[in-house]
Subunit: 612 residues, 2 copies
């Protein structure tokens, strides 16, 4: 080894420690101790190993770096300042409202691909990036820096398993084992063998090192990419390394140093610090970049009115149809592809399909990874199982990721399988995601057109598909913009505006026929876009029925379609009556359950009469 380089990198590490302490002290909060433990590793990666263009962090073939332990943000910011992306003085704006150097990293910064700060999620994103490198035939590597504490998160092992299965030798995880958690020591402290055994059992090659020995760090990094396994580097480190009164002491997690303490710490670090000598290794040979461009349009659909097709089948057909002209589309599923119908895409484009097995958290994280590389990932499973990945979906939104989620088997209309398989809170959950789009088609034409909207739209979007077959009610040329709604039935003198979506739309239409025979007219609206809600359409219709609205949904009453309509339109004087599932449902036949829980045509008729 070249000891001069090692000395230089160790010097930079100390400079990064100083920067992390200064910035957190200026902010009055933050995590300097965890920055100190990882500083040597980051210095080695950024200035002794990774290949990237420091002036262009977005260049597609740069090596990728994910700070899974997001609370070490000041260290990441210091590294990019050292790399020359922005002046070091900016570091002192840490955590300020006028600075994008936030408490935890977000993609408001050009050099951050994904937001981190909810622990245990970085490795999934890294797996997505590493898989994408393979798909795009790019030779960048992906490095994920993790804390030891976050290795308790199951999502880490979901990701580790998929990386092992896919033999991702372009992926490197580095675990910064600094022994101390937030509130007490970690379960395994410095028992590095525990981490080694776990990663090996999950199909990884491992290296156990001293995370403050620059020679060792560079040596094991030098062997990244060797063999056909991902590499886990288990690094023994000291939290607060370099600062005598903080090193390996409890009580320093998430605590900024006072000005006096900072001065003392810097006095210790300064003699061994170096800066301004760093020269990142240039990005690898310029390779042809993936196009990742949206197509001009999509082939037409060809359904016949009255034909019976489940919207989940239409999703499968659309995924294939869209995927054929849009190379950005990749698909992921959690061993439900024969039920969600993503199987159609898998059979045609196996290289663009990731079987994630029964591990929904990782599936969403991997999708986020693909989205950061310009892809349009569609991840599908039973809608209720997206609840498993709600934190990952939340972080995808904070990451401003372009992730598409498709959940099938919603509501009591799935029937006999019972409550555990019924999504009854998915609309509430997905509506509450910042900036999300929530779509709920009733027929196959609508489902297919909404898939086009999702592929074109940028951001987190959710499509709620149903298990039962439903009749085609729209022509193939009907348009379904995000934020719209369709008036399906309306006549002068209508008494109530009934708003349905999915299976309940058909019940509402049946109810309209029954009520018509009794001389009662109702307006029926298809609220296929639950968020943003087609509120103008609903408001206009409601006006004509004396502002009386009845919503009907195969979902619990909280946060779903009814709350969406009331939440948007009560301000206009609209009075919203709600039919929804108001108890834990039971197994049974779909039609029995719709009836028992009062969301079928008879339930709607009864409710309309009670309103009048």
């Amino acid at each position: 080894m070249n000891t001069q380089i090692e000395e230089q990198l160790s010097g930079i590490a100390n400079q990064l420690r100083i920067d992390s302490i200064e910035s957190t002290t200026a902010a009055g909060s933050g995590h300097p101790s965890t920055c100190c433990s990882a500083a040597d590793i980051v210095a080695a990666l950024f200035f002794g190993h990774m290949r990237y263009d420091p002036k262009n962090p977005k260049y597609a073939n740069n090596d990728r770096f994910i700070l899974s332990k997001g609370h070490a943000a000041p260290l990441l910011y210091a590294a990019w300042a050292e790399a020359g992306l922005f002046p070091r003085e900016h570091l002192l704006t840490l955590r300020r409202l006028d600075s994008d150097l936030e408490g935890h990293p977000t993609p408001r910064l050009s050099f951050v691909d994904v937001a981190t700060g909810s622990l245990g999620q970085g490795l999934s994103v890294g797996v997505g990036m590493a898989l994408c490198a393979r798909l795009d035939q790019l030779d960048y590597r992906t490095y994920v820096l993790m804390g030891d504490g976050e290795c308790a998160e199951g999502s880490v092992w979901e990701a580790a398993s998929l990386a092992g299965i896919n033999k991702l030798n372009n992926l490197v995880a580095i675990v910064d084992v600094n022994r101390l958690g937030q509130s007490q020591p970690t379960a395994f402290q410095w028992d590095l063998e525990v981490y080694r055994k776990r990663f090996e059992a999950f199909g990884w090659r491992t290296e156990v090192i001293d995370g403050h020995d620059m020679e060792e760090i560079l040596e094991v990094l030098g062997a990244a990419g060797v063999g056909d396994q991902p590499l886990a580097i288990i690094a023994k480190t000291i939290k607060g390394q370099g600062v005598s009164f903080m090193a390996d002491k409890e009580g320093w997690h998430g605590k900024a140093l006072s000005k006096d303490e900072a001065a003392k710490a810097i006095a210790e670090l300064q003699p061994k610090a170096k800066s301004g000598l760093a020269e990142p290794i240039p990005a690898p040979t310029q390779l042809p970049m993936p196009k990742n461009e949206a197509p001009a349009g999509y082939p037409a659909t060809n359904y016949k009115l009255g034909e019976m097709v489940a919207t989940r089948e239409a999703f499968g057909a659309a995924l294939l149809r869209i995927g054929e002209v849009d190379e950005r589309v990749v698909a992921l599923d959690g061993d439900t592809k024969n039920s969600t119908y993503s199987e159609k895409f898998y059979k045609k484009f196996p290289a663009r399909f990731i079987e994630c097995f029964i591990a929904e958290q990782n599936m969403v994280g991997v999708a986020t990874g693909f989205s950061t590389r310009g892809k349009v990932p569609f991840a599908s499973t039973f809608a209720c199982f997206f609840s498993r990945a709600y934190d990952q979906i939340r972080m995808a939104a904070i990451s401003m990721a372009n992730v598409k989620l498709v959940g099938s088997h919603v509501g009591v209309s799935i029937g006999e399988d019972g409550t555990s398989q019924m999504a009854l809170e998915d609309i509430a959950m997905m509506r509450a995601i910042e900036g999300s789009v929530v779509l709920y088609p009733s027929d196959a034409v609508c489902a297919e057109k909404l898939m086009e909207q999702m592929a074109s739209h940028k951001g987190v979007a959710f499509l709620r598909t149903s298990r039962p077959k439903t009749p085609i009610i729209y022509n193939n040329d009907e348009q379904f913009p995000i934020g719209g709604a369709k008036v399906r039935k309306q006549a002068a003198g209508d008494k109530v505006t009934v708003v349905g979506a999915g299976v309940t739309l058909f019940e509402a239409l049946k109810a309209a026929d029954i009520l018509a025979k009794e001389g009662v007219g109702i307006t029926v609206i298809d609220a296929y876009s639950v968020k943003p809600l087609g509120k103008d359409v609903i408001r206009e219709a409601a006006k004509k029925t004396n502002n009386v609205v009845l919503t009907v949904e195969d979902h619990y009453p909280e946060g779903g379609l009814g709350d969406a309509v009331a939440g948007e339109l009560s301000v206009d004087g609209v009075r919203v009556h709600k039919l929804a599932i108001r108890e834990l449902p039971h197994s049974g036949k779909p039609e029995e359950l719709l009836a028992k829980y009062g969301i079928d045509a008879a339930g709607i008729v009864k409710m309309v009469k009670s309103i009048l």
Copy 2:
């Protein structure tokens, strides 16, 4: 080994296979193939190993059995019929609306402790039960039957890790490695070594066996409880075992046999089937049962009006105060106990505190396990990280579990840490849980009293606590029933009813003062019970302000307080204007963020003026 016993148990296994096939064929749906793979293991457990009273499945010292692979429900039902709990004919009511033999097990059945069907959750519940056995000094053992496919779920490894750390030698996991998933073979098929290595790396003793060899099954079960580690039995099995045309064939997942197929299958199984000879092993010696009774009352609180106390601190104080008189209370945290303040309880009652480390899914599953044993578990972490466990919370509700969740650090009022640490969708998420209670105190008195309500209430309840200190505004004798709301300020001529909760209540009170100076009166309501909502109080107040309501919440606009009020009261003609966080927030000082996103006093004043 006694070969006669083995032969008898193998015969029972075949009878259970027959029952599983008959019941699913009668239902027209279900998972017979997965019942067949696990039948020998279940026969061995139920009739050759576990100690329990078959007439009294709820007896506290029975060995516990959790069918984590819930889709094998027909096998579980068949075992209890064989044990004599109910007549075998009832099995033919499987999946019917009039039968509690649902598609996946739920505690509607006396012999089911927790609902299963969302894979990968049973082991966490088992860990909770095993920990509870230790706490209660009972010698029952807990057996968890898992599928191989579900071992891809990270929650399994969270649970496995905590079991290893706690050396739960009263816990046995059996993995039914039948090689075939729903849509394709599992990643590791019959590579049993993968599972063995993983469990060993997570601190378990392992045994690899042929899951159809009764001698081997009984032998390894006989060594359960030996040593100081939990035991994982990795059993190689054949999906569809015993039925030639189904055994080890793809395409048979989740598929009932036709009547003809069933007849053929039964013809193969019948000659080797035995029934009516089964005699479970009696439950172990009757031990003193834990009391698990609610106390007559709780000690009083002693706050002073105007004192500054964060509601998270009040939670910690209440947990200790309540825990001192209520032995049912146990506490769990995910390495945030110094921030959530559950640390106070931990220091006083370490034996009743479970440090779950950074693994929220498992924490909620363990809490569910404790709740099935009569405890009142309080699990705490940052509120945003409960999104990690949303599926576990959903399943806790389906399990009718008595689980209490306390989430701190909510909304933009946490300040500098940034969006990833801010709970902004937790109210929406928790409201959508069936039967849940969602509470949001503004001051410490209210927080403490709501903790009493939570401890007394049965079911899933969520307390949303805040990071900043807020002034005490209630007297120590104030009562806060679930479903109530408090009018904090009201006068004749008020123009708008402003509904706040938590930090926004204080902003509303400040706004009232500012507006009063300008001659505009507003009513201010503390909506401390978001679900059930104190809707009568709000409705009455709204009536007096011409039905004009303004909700103010430190939460996204979807599914939160505003939607709750609009969703409940629009039907009465109440018009709800909403102030909420309408974009991805940034790091900054709490007061800066409240101002930037328009939920501070100035924002309320502005909105009230624009409404008038």
